[in-house]
């Protein structure tokens, strides 16, 4: 079943800000704000985000899919979710 990319982004934004950037405004976390290369997410935080993404969107991720090429921004993660759900 396909999924709306903007809903995925909004869900991710809510989770990331609540979990890793408490006190920050959700609007400030943009699609292309770096998460890994800027230090917001370390390896343990990335694993927690992986668990959240898998549970929330019903997909399964491989280790190489969590590299910074795809898993560094809200936009990149949302694209990956949509792709895995067969939305494109």
């Amino acid at each position: 079943m396909s999924i709306d990319v903007s809903n995925v982004k909004e869900t991710l934004r809510q989770f990331i800000v609540k979990t890793y950037l408490p006190g920050e405004s959700v609007e400030n976390l943009q699609d292309d704000t770096p998460l890994r290369t800027s230090g917001v997410l370390d390896s343990m935080a990335t694993l927690r985000l992986v668990s959240f993404v898998e549970k929330e969107f019903g997909i399964e991720l491989e280790a190489h899919e969590t590299g910074i090429e795809t898993f560094d921004t809200v936009g990149g993660i949302a694209d990956l979710v949509v792709q895995k759900r067969g939305g494109r």
Partner: protein, 442 residues
């Protein structure tokens, strides 16, 4: 164009995130400013003067530093598309100056041959097999000092390719597109690597993604700050090196000598952390906005914290090629089991790859009990620490440790690392035990 900023607690700074393409943003971040350029150039001149006056490192360091700073002065003003080709050309020129034309030519030539093999239009496994054949031949050459190749080639080649090639192959296996020759050369041939044998295991994707990700003046200024910090660490290292008494059973005759000797042995690591700061600082001058290395590692409050701070490049390398693949394979059975096995695998691989590194630098295999015990004990305690942290995860959020507890934790971690480090640096476990006990006899 809309812009917004987000506070990044780890970086402690504001990052502007703009709704434009990465290419457009990089171009905008490379915009020149004569006054800011003069400020950067002036600081680099002062840093070079300190290098000259204090002779902060050996042989070719000054030539490498002068060439890198000189390359920056040109690089800054070049059109964006010419910046990286210039950096590669300057690096190759620096290689010739630092290593001589034969060794530099061999390293660059073999590096380009590896790129050509990896660019072949055949399945990845065949390309990987061909690279393994080249690697096996080079390992044979290193072990036998064969092929009539000058000895200077082997450690320099190892310093460039022994670990970063693993990352490159991993990324090539899973990347959406194939990296260009320019990206390959910028990754494997940065000028400082032709001087520094111990070089941060920079991640290929991180190098590409962070290229001009912020305004160049901010990136370069941060780099200069790290160069200054690294220089201070090297000066401190020299002082400690001169003052440090011999740490042997015969020389250590009092408890004070034992304790101060252990601390000073650990402090000799300032040379490595100083080098890493300078290397990453230099790379910042050319737009590579790489993460901070050795971030206040002396103030780590647990062994896990120490592992996450000391050599972040090595930690990230291990997370990428060992931890995540093992964890993802096992996590369906049990998350905790997956974490324990993946962490254990990281320390086993770290132990083995230190021996592999030793082979490229020295020509033989390193196997000593102090080295084995060091990585074994550190790995086991990091796993225990990880499990404790997990167990306390919920409680910790509710009650963060107070300042007194934090100080005690930091002091205990420092003391433990100092003792473990003294074991690691000892020629044998027997001699280490002798140092710990002989002083009691006066």
């Amino acid at each position: 164009m809309s812009t917004a900023s987000i506070t990044l607690p780890a970086a402690g700074s504001k990052l502007k995130a703009a709704a434009v393409s990465p290419a457009e943003r990089r171009l905008a971040n490379a915009a020149t400013d004569p006054l800011k350029f003069l400020a950067l150039a002036g600081q680099l001149a002062a840093v070079l003067a300190v290098f000259v006056v204090f002779r902060v490192d050996e042989g070719g360091f000054l030539r490498m530093a002068a060439a890198t700073c000189g390359a920056f002065l040109v690089h800054y003003w070049l059109p964006f598309r010419w910046k990286e080709p210039w950096w590669i050309a300057a690096s190759w020129g620096g290689a010739v100056v630092l290593l001589g034309p034969v060794v530099a030519g061999l390293i660059i030539g073999i590096g380009l041959a590896i790129f050509a093999v990896l660019a072949l239009p055949i399945a990845f496994r065949y390309r990987l097999a061909l690279v393994c054949v080249i690697g096996a031949a080079l390992i044979y050459g290193r072990a036998t000092l064969g092929f009539g190749i000058p000895w200077k080639f082997w450690p320099a080649f190892g310093a460039i390719f022994m670990f970063r090639l693993v990352i490159y192959l991993y990324d090539l296996r899973f990347a959406k597109g194939r990296p260009s020759l320019q990206e390959y050369c910028a990754y494997f041939f940065p000028l400082p690597n032709f001087y520094f044998l111990l070089f941060p295991v920079v991640d290929f994707q991180t190098l590409r993604r962070t290229f001009y990700q912020r305004d160049i003046h901010a990136i370069a200024q941060q780099g200069i700050g790290w160069i200054v910090r690294g220089t201070a660490q090297l000066c401190l290292y020299r002082l400690i090196y001169q003052l440090k008494p011999a740490f042997t059973p015969v020389e250590v005759t009092t408890l004070w000598q034992l304790l101060s000797g252990m601390v000073l042995v650990y402090m000799l690591y300032l040379r490595v952390s100083g080098h890493f700061h300078i290397i990453v600082g230099f790379l910042h001058l050319f737009g590579y906005d790489l993460p901070e290395t050795h971030r206040r590692y002396l103030l780590a409050s647990s062994l896990t914290d120490f592992w996450r701070r000391i050599n972040i490049y090595w930690k990230d390398f291990m997370v990428k090629v060992v931890y995540f693949p093992v964890f993802f394979r096992l996590r369906k059975r049990s998350q905790t089991l997956a974490q324990v096995v993946a962490t254990a695998a990281v320390f086993v691989v770290t132990w083995a790859t230190h021996s592999y590194q030793w082979f490229w630098f020295r020509g033989d295999i390193l196997f000593t009990w102090p080295d084995t015990l060091f990585w074994g004990i550190l790995g086991a305690l990091v796993i225990v620490n990880l499990l404790i942290e997990q167990g306390a995860d919920g409680q910790r959020a509710a009650s963060a440790p107070g300042p007194v507890r934090r100080v005690v934790q930091t002091a205990a971690t420092f003391a433990f690392i100092v003792v473990l480090w003294s074991l690691w640096q000892s020629p044998s476990v027997g001699e280490w035990l002798d140092v710990l006990t002989y002083w009691q006899a006066g």
